[in-house]
Amino acid sequence: MLSCSKCLLPETAEATSFDEAGSCSVCAQIEVRDTQINWEERHAQMMELVAQYRDKGLYDCIVPYSGGKDSVFQLWYVVKKLGLKPLVVRFDHWFYRPLIEENNTSVFKQLGVDVLNFTPNWHVVRELMLESLKRRGDFCWHCHTGIYAHTMQIAIRYETPLLFWGESLAEYQSFYSYDEMEEVDEKRFNRAMNLGITADDMYEFLGGRVAKRDLYPFVYPPRKELMRIKCRSICLGSYIKWDTKKHVEIIKRELGWKGQEVEGIPPEYDYEKIECFFQGVRDYLKYIKRGMGRTNHLANIDIRNKRMTREQGEALVREFDGKRPPSLDLFLDYLQLTEEQFLGIAIKHEVSPWQFSPNTVEPGRRMPDMDKWNNTQVPWPNHPGVEIGGGKG
């Protein structure tokens, strides 16, 4: 399997390509970010845009919020640097770790913001997790579609057309490049967020187990509706130069934001993906399918930002990637699957030329707060099994 000659990204990554020198398109994009973008100009463009939306309604903008490092930074930036009044919109995926709630309480109190939280029906979410796992080897469909689609629905309901998302996709992947200034719109939703599955598709896949109206939170609103409110759904990372480590320093200092350890990555990355207790399972699946775990991703960021050499990155990846996360036990319990079934599904989604070897997997470290991760038992009499079904007869 080929990897980038500069960072460690493998050829199995989704939209990426390598040039003649063997270096990847994401490295090229970061080069553009650092040398070819006039960030002052971009900042000025953002100020012009913001002026058009300031003080026009109940809220100046929406900030989609998870409580992770990026959304906390975005919120801080919008309130403190742009002086805007946001509506904070949170989508509850059911897997928040206890520290997040503490962090959020502290952040919201300090910044002084209105917060809307939406929690979708667990019975529905469970079905969605299993179906998307079966069809895509990825159980996070409800989370991605919920965050993106539902937040757009809120924008329409509250007539708040300006939305501030986080980094540009060009920071980590090649669906877009830095000079494109992508809108966080339905095209991006389809390309990079919803695994190619819409709520309408899910309805068909679930074969009547979930009513159509129960899937409404996951439906991306019609383009005409968004055009009517003159929606601008932008990435903050298109207008300011993104620097994750610097942002983390800021939120720790300004807001007392706390990090914590995450499964499967070096403990010094205590700011990365701390908000989801199934992050380890998610990363494990990506490792099974594409041969890259989260340490690979984090090392790449540091390599591209010249904080680490490729050799140092390789050593970290060897040490941390590809271990079996203890959260997998909880996950299997949630979805009532055996580990054999789980691996069988995941391996079907391998991306060539990577091949996973289950026999070489070691166990990973258990997280200290794992006992606090909810495990309310909910019977599942109509469990659909692991075969992909025929839908409505």
Binding site: E14, A15, T16, S17, F18, S25, A28, Q29, V32, R135, R136, G137, S174, F175, Y176, S177, E180, E186, K187, N190, R191, N194, G196, I197, T198, A199, D200, D201, Y203, E204, F205, G207, R223, K289, R290, K348, H349, E350, V351, S352, I388, G389, G390, G391, K392
Partner: protein, 258 residues
């Protein structure tokens, strides 16, 4: 020069997408045709083929509605077929938004229909769809009526005849390999591509990125793919960037923007 094309194939049953193995086994729900078409459009596929596999007077209306809705936000060519028997059928689909219409069984029953339709609407609007099975290792034979009725016709000879009747394109599908993800029928593809003057789209068996490369290198102008996109992580985005980086003459992938 003209690019090689990557084409998802949609099978409609009662207005929903479905997928089988070998045409009849293992039915699986495959989603909503309009939203799935939008997703593929955003992925940047080259075209879409939409076939109504249980055609009737009632289903024609549903197909027209689906094509009209697709046309609202999707801007790439569509080929639509399934039960097309008359010039009116062709006209209805073209007016709904189809760029090309696929004929299958009716062309076998009444070859003159194909010639008439090509003359009325233009060769470029008529795609002939040919499904076949290998009856024995060296003998392939055409099947019509959704793979139910065996016709003693060699698929390549029949394809050549359709070219003489002025079809614009041939869609050649292996029933044996359909849904198996075991690879295209390269031998037949190579033979067909070497005798046909019109573009050849091949269908049936794509399960990996390499399969698509093999089919295009065997002479196909385009690959039609169903199962691989529906049930694996080899998405159209992955396929295109893989083919592009391996030097095949396909449209550039997103990351070539850099």
């Amino acid at each position: 020069m003209l690019k090689k094309r990557l084409i998802p194939k949609f099978l409609l049953r009662d207005g929903r997408l479905v997928k089988y193995t070998r045409f009849f086994e293992n039915e699986r729900a495959a989603g909503n045709p309009v939203t799935t078409a939008k997703v593929y459009n955003d992925y940047g596929v080259d075209e879409l083929i939409v076939l109504d596999i249980v055609p009737s007077a009632a289903s024609r209306g549903r197909v027209v509605d689906i094509i009209e809705r697709m046309s609202e936000e999707i801007f790439m060519p569509f080929t639509v077929g399934g039960g097309v028997k008359t010039l009116d059928d062709v006209n209805m689909l073209l007016r709904a938004g189809a760029d090309k219409v696929s004929v299958n069984s009716e062309a076998v029953r009444r070859p003159e229909f194909l010639r008439e339709a090509a003359r009325t609407f233009g060769d470029q609007c008529m795609t002939v769809s040919i499904d076949y099975k290998r009856i024995s290792p060296n003998h392939a034979s055409v099947f019509i009526d959704g793979g139910r009725e065996h016709v003693a016709l060699d698929p390549i000879e029949w394809a050549q005849r359709c070219e003489d009747l002025h079809c614009g394109e041939v869609l050649l599908g292996s029933i044996d390999r359909d849904g198996t993800m075991s690879g295209y029928d390269l031998e037949l593809i190579h033979k067909a591509a070497s005798v046909l003057g019109v573009p050849l789209i091949v269908s049936g068996g794509c399960g990996s990125l390499q399969h698509a490369i093999d089919a295009l290198e065997a002479g196909a102008s385009a690959v039609a793919i169903s199962s691989m996109f529906l049930f694996t992580d080899h998405s159209p985005i992955k396929l295109r960037s893989h083919l592009f980086s391996r030097g095949l003459d396909v449209r550039a992938s997103f990351s070539s923007r850099n």
